[in-house]
Symmetry: C2
Subunit: 357 residues, 2 copies
């Protein structure tokens, strides 16, 4: 599966990550293999089929159409409850939650995500602060901004919008965000407490939390089930795998080094994908009757659309709905629930800070 | 596989863990499912066959005998190099590494492990301090001891021997150990940095590190290979799975909730087991030509032995050697290398503290 020169959504994310090589190369000691932690290699997927249109003959069908896991009403319900809680907080103690967003540079593709988050905060009564820094800002300037938000008692959640420009050490900056305000759940302390069963992180990353929320709300049994996570990003794939395991699924993680990933995915009862390649997961990758959570968010050209593109997931939806028992659409599946989980994490943080129950 | 009433090595460990229920029950908020992190359920395995003697007719054979992955000469080699490094450190700066061991109560089964560690430290020139506390000590007394070692500049590694008595909060105490002296690698910050590719924990847990060391030294290809970890303990199973994934294996974790685990293990090129049940893994669980790392350490009755028992792993060795291409024996496989990894972690910590390269 490797070695392709596919570039796109994932490609951009990877260029940043290759800089971790330098972190790695300093770690060797004379008493151990320098590569005991494994060589850092970026995940480069090569799509099996560039076509965005399904080959319907390639799939097997269970004869039924799948249940659509619609995230919008669930997100609405969660937001409604959050808004109620914030009103109750304001009435009782005169306080409300605050979210700070740090934005470096003018990445055109970051803006819509930020705007969605800000609008959602506004809807439920979370105050927002946006700090915009120029593309050329120094690491020290960025760290100062983060530290200021760490100290600010009106801020309960801090988001540093990723990816950052190449010259900034993303890992270092994520570590400086206070674990108690890390509403994205990316701090290594929170990730460790997510990995270690019996422990409690301050925050669970929003997209994986949204994934589990959907599975629970739709009554999908997780415990004892075979589940496969396609992709191992620190934002989605890794924490989703850890969370599924906490729910006692038997979890396999498939990534760009996996040979014949479809052999593994086709054994799974629950499949979660977050790779960033449209139509990577074809109908014949899926077990009949399985449940699919498509976490991919890919922009593909579409001349028939007003914007010239449309949003699609990693799963070939038209093929999948003929095979699986339930599937999230893209857009409108995990996405809206992910946003509501950010609001939920911010509210939880404020409650903790104010000791409000 | 669940529901049995098997008690033994694993049973004891589990009794302690059930106390995490209380940590969990405080975590719900009104805006989310209380069980988004999953219900905390202990792993209770039921052995498929209590017999310690193999049924040779049950296995399939590749006709060859397996290569034995002997950990003893490798451990000796690592210890030799560590001793040399410590001599060099003493000669250059007049300092040597120090390891502190905290022992609560008089657990008969903890003593041999502690003694092996202390003797190994002595052999290579690591100073050791043992603090013994009575079974009835309070949490505050134990935390004071740990904090004192955290502050002590002559201490570079701290081990709190597990399991602790029921009345002590193991998770809390492990979090108080400074991440920079956590030579066991169990602190959530270190575990998070192990999980997150591209990051560097201060320490990797010793047994998983030993497992990878053996695979690397024996030239076993990990990248792109199917690997299965049987058991998901925070000490062995979880960090081993995370480490194998950093080496780009396709990792599946099998645990007590997994139905028909042999269907998954029999697809794996590399199998690691740490469950605590003798002979759980039979010949027909294994793929011909695969590599087996047996991390189990189980005491079974043996009237023919001088001590009345013998040590055995999780894998039915007599069956496995007819199927696999390489396997670690128990004892004498991962065990000795695990001890040498503790020494290596302690040396690394001292080098970091003294800025000695």
């Amino acid at each position: 599966m490797r070695g392709g020169n596919w570039v796109g959504v994932v490609g951009r994310r990877l260029r940043k990550q290759t800089s971790y090589f330098s972190v790695h190369s300093t770690s060797s000691t004379s008493t151990e293999y320098p590569n005991i932690l494994g060589p850092y290699l970026p995940d480069v997927w090569t799509p099996t089929n560039q076509s965005h249109r399904p080959q319907s003959s390639a799939i097997f069908s269970n004869g039924n159409s799948a249940r659509i896991i619609d995230g919008k009403p669930i997100a609405k319900d969660i937001k409604f409850r959050i808004a109620g809680e914030i009103q109750r907080m304001k009435a009782a103690i005169g306080k409300s939650p605050g979210l700070a967003v740090v934005l470096v540079g003018q990445r055109r593709d970051s803006k819509p995500y930020i705007n969605i988050k800000l609008r959602a905060c506004d809807e439920v009564g979370i105050a927002t602060m946006v700090e915009e820094l120029p593309e050329s800002c120094t690491e020290s300037e960025l760290l100062d901004v983060v530290s200021r938000f760490n100290e600010d008692p009106s801020v309960h959640g801090i988001i540093v919008q990723l990816p950052l420009p190449q010259h900034l050490d993303e890992e270092k900056i994520m570590t400086v965000v206070s674990p108690e305000k890390d509403v994205d759940g990316f701090h290594p302390l929170n990730m460790g407490n997510l990995a270690l069963r019996g422990r409690q992180p301050f925050f669970i990353p929003c997209a994986p939390k949204g994934c589990i929320e959907l599975l629970l709300r739709f009554g999908v049994q997780i415990s004892g089930k075979r589940s496969v996570v396609i992709g191992r990003s620190k934002i989605v794939g890794l924490p989703t795998a850890l969370l599924l395991q906490r729910h006692h699924a038997t979890v396999s993680t498939v990534h760009s080094f996996t040979k014949n990933p479809e052999q593994i995915t086709s054994q799974a009862d629950v499949i979660v994908s977050d790779v960033g390649i449209p139509n990577l997961v074809r109908g014949n990758w899926l077990k009949p009757g399985s449940v699919v959570i498509d976490m991919g968010t890919n922009l593909v050209k579409d001349t028939s659309s007003r914007h010239g593109f449309r949003v699609t997931g990693d799963v070939c939806y038209e093929e999948a709905i003929k095979v699986v028992s339930a599937i999230t659409p893209v857009p409108g599946g995990v996405g809206p629930v992910t946003i509501s989980m950010l609001l939920s994490n911010t509210l939880d943080s404020a409650k903790r800070a104010f000791r409000f129950t």
